[in-house]
């Protein structure tokens, strides 16, 4: 079973990389741009047939390693 995990900085955490990307897009003429936040994306394949069990496992991976819960939020989606 395959899942995607998207990790983004929490709303109140400054994202200087996202800001620079935003400024550059602005410079390229995309003036209607409201905001850009940069994050990380993981594709995880897991040997488990039961979707609920698999999701719990992926969630555990996020909490243990993939995400720093102090500054980041995450979303898990089945692919």
């Amino acid at each position: 079973m395959k899942f995607s995990v998207t990790v983004v900085l929490k709303k109140d955490v400054l994202d200087p990389q996202g800001k620079v990307v935003q400024n550059t897009l602005n410079n390229l003429g995309m003036s209607d741009l409201k905001s850009v936040r940069q994050g990380k994306f993981f594709e995880i394949e897991i040997d488990e047939q039961d979707q609920k069990k698999a999701e719990i496992k992926v969630d555990g991976m996020c909490k243990k390693l993939l995400v720093n819960l102090i500054i980041e939020d995450y979303k898990i989606n089945k692919l």
Binding site: V13, L14, P16, Q17, K64, L65, N68, I70, I71
Partner: protein, 225 residues
């Protein structure tokens, strides 16, 4: 006094700190991260560098390595633990120190000598310094922008757990003297028991006047006494 320096793939200040410890008369041992036995030590140092190439987040992979479980056990039983630069980042990833280190606000790797002020000199790491003493110490990092939640920030202030703050030559602590955007100009913090210190500046680079200055010496002599 016995010290252990933990070495990860990508550590690059491990030999600098070993030299500094030996100069200060510590009996030092290097410990590879795959070891599961930690030699009996009075001080454990997690050195600077780029453990695992900063993959995922700085310090994230090293923070889950085999030897780290032993470091956590030793720290919880009162052993002194010093994390410098990447070592500080690793300590936050293990949970031994709270908060985290974000990318520098200006998005640049900063390598220069800056000033820091001693905020608490009543600890095993800082007793040989004077309160509010201004030190000149090198920093060299890309992620040194200390960040934590407001509850923990209050705890740091109320329990006197801030070790050092960035300042200018005259000791002013403000935005101009903050090199990386760290909250409240924080350069180093203690855990609540004050047996763990994490700091971004490199005291091991300041133990010899021929290459720099000796502002780092008192950190090691504090530990010795």
């Amino acid at each position: 006094m016995k010290s252990s320096v933990i070495v990860f793939p990508g550590s690059n200040c491990d030999r600098d700190i070993a030299k500094a410890l030996e100069k200060m008369q510590f009996k030092n041992q290097m410990v590879w991260h795959k070891e599961t036995d930690l030699p009996k030590s009075d001080l454990i140092v997690i050195p600077g560098g780029f453990s695992y190439g900063d993959y995922l987040r700085s310090g994230a992979i090293a923070g889950k390595s085999l030897i780290i479980e032993e470091v956590i056990k030793a720290a919880n039983s009162g052993c002194l633990v010093l994390g410098i630069c990447n070592g500080f980042q690793i300590l936050t990833e293990t949970g031994l120190l709270k908060g985290t280190l974000l990318r520098n606000k200006n998005l640049k790797f900063i390598n220069k000598d800056i000033n820091i002020k001693v905020i608490n000199n009543q600890t095993r790491f800082t007793s040989k310094y004077k309160l509010n003493q201004i030190l000149k110490i090198n920093i060299a990092h890309n992620e040194g922008n200390y960040f934590t939640n407001s509850t923990h920030l209050n705890e740091l202030k109320n329990e006197n757990l801030i070790a050092f703050k960035y300042c200018d030559e005259k000791g002013n602590i403000n935005n101009q003297s903050n090199p990386n955007g760290a909250m409240d100009n924080i350069a180093g913090i203690f855990n609540s028991k004050k047996n763990i210190l994490g700091m971004m500046p490199h005291p091991e680079r300041m133990v010899d006047k021929f290459i720099s200055n000796t502002d780092g010496v008192n950190l090691f002599s504090s530990i010795l006494h």
